[in-house]
């Protein structure tokens, strides 16, 4: 389910967060699905349990997963979609720099919007 890139600049725990979110968005992981416990996931991915725990804590804080003691960790039944302003600002900045790069390669507004629209459709 999760494929880590150890050479990437993105920290391992962020890669886990991102990939679980991706699977939730694609509908591969439906609400209520049990996901492996911290220790089991660590074994599977060959990383330390602490790293998995960090990712799970963040996912739990964002309301994407829920842990019920004695039962395990699940994809949350109801994922509340609320914008985190700080995060939105950070993403806007990332968009900004990507748009500059695309413009420098000759993409115009229409092309850029189309590119993003296609990517968005691929994900849902």
């Amino acid at each position: 389910m999760i494929n880590l890139d150890f050479k990437s600049d993105t920290p391992i725990y962020e890669q886990i967060i991102e990939q679980i979110k991706y699977h939730v968005m694609k509908g591969n992981l439906e609400a209520g699905t049990i996901i492996p416990s911290v220790r089991k996931m660590a074994l599977e991915l060959s990383i330390t349990p602490g790293t998995v725990a960090k990712a799970y804590q963040e996912l739990e804080r964002q309301g994407i997963i829920e842990t019920i003691r004695g039962k395990g960790t699940f994809i949350a039944l109801k994922i509340e979609k609320k914008p985190d302003e700080e995060k939105v600002e950070q993403i806007s900045k990332e968009f900004q720099s990507k748009i500059i790069e695309l413009k420098m390669m000759g993409y115009d507004e229409e092309h850029i919007v189309e590119l993003i629209r296609n990517l968005y459709r691929e994900m849902s």
Partner: protein, 299 residues
């Protein structure tokens, strides 16, 4: 919680372990790492109450373990040689355990054995090292312990049995909230299992820490220094290890910071890249630095 406080043990006046401190909480897996002869097994024998420490104390939830059967009932221990009674059969060992341990759960043993597949009729003396280890692990887990002490559990196991062993261990730790102390030379395995590790060298604890912290403390860099540089010039005290292929240098650094980065740049470093490093590599390189320091002192 297991509390090891200031434990020392001497064999005929020669100290083997000195002033050891460590703790293991319920639900925690702590790894014990050290070279051959560092004192791991001696420490484990003190922790399991087989040896009486010369100084200090080993407490389980504030109770002494030495000469205390009540505490020993809740502690599982798989030794490195699994010296069980050779003339007994596997089922004989199960009966023996049933008699001795009030919480022994035979059904649990049978469920575990579905995974590990030992023949109940085999005599213990005819089992291989890996099979004895499986037997020990199953027997001790079936005692439904609160704490589990494992001395080199994976050393005789084939790859399939090893991954089963780790899976079952993890499952049992989560289910029973067991506190585990595990010694091993296979640091790759420990990395996947442990929350915390204790490093011992020459009978003393040199590091008692969280695995992630340790991995954050040491950083492996890939650095390009055009034209090359004599490795001996890369001599900051926090540089643990340097190796190079042509002008590409691999450097392991203790506490990498901005200053070190600037310093490397002043030596002509151009492309500085952080690469992922396993626990094993980290341990081996920190040991080789010590070896080099000792050689210098002797010269």
């Amino acid at each position: 919680m297991i509390k090891v406080e200031n434990v020392s043990k001497r064999y005929s006046k020669i100290p083997v372990i000195e002033h050891i401190y460590l703790t293991v909480s319920r639900g925690e897996i702590r790894g014990l790492i050290g070279n051959n002869g560092a004192g791991k097994t001696t420490l484990i024998k003190c922790i399991t109450g087989i040896y009486k420490p010369d100084d200090g104390s080993v407490l389980y939830d504030d109770e002494k373990i030495y000469d205390n059967p009540d505490v020993k009932h809740k502690v599982g221990y798989v030794s490195d040689n699994c010296g069980y009674l050779g003339r007994y059969s596997v089922s004989g060992m199960v009966r023996l355990y049933e008699n001795y341990y009030p919480n022994f759960n035979k059904e649990k043993f049978n469920t575990l054995n579905e995974e590990f597949g030992l023949s109940l009729k085999s005599k213990v003396k005819n089992l291989s090292k890996g099979q004895k280890m499986r037997l020990g692990f199953m027997l001790e887990l079936s005692k439904q312990p609160e704490y589990l002490i494992l001395d080199e559990p994976t050393s005789g196991l084939d790859p399939v049995a090893k991954s089963k062993f780790m899976e079952i261990l993890v499952q049992e730790v989560e289910k029973g909230n067991i506190g585990v102390l595990i010694s091993s030379h296979n640091l790759g395995d420990l990395e996947k299992l442990c929350d915390t590790i204790t490093l011992i060298e020459d009978g003393k604890v040199t590091n008692n820490t969280n695995v992630d912290d340790l991995k954050e403390q040491f950083v492996k860099l890939q650095v390009v220094i055009p034209g090359g540089i004599d490795s001996s010039k890369l001599n900051l005290p926090n540089i643990v290890n340097v190796s190079n292929v042509g002008s590409v240098y691999t450097i392991i650094i203790d506490n990498y910071d901005k200053m070190t980065e600037e310093w490397l740049k002043s030596k002509g470093a151009e492309l500085i890249e952080v690469i992922d490093m396993g626990l094993e590599e980290l341990y081996v390189s920190s040991q080789s630095r010590k070896g080099a320091e000792q050689n210098e002192k002797m010269a």
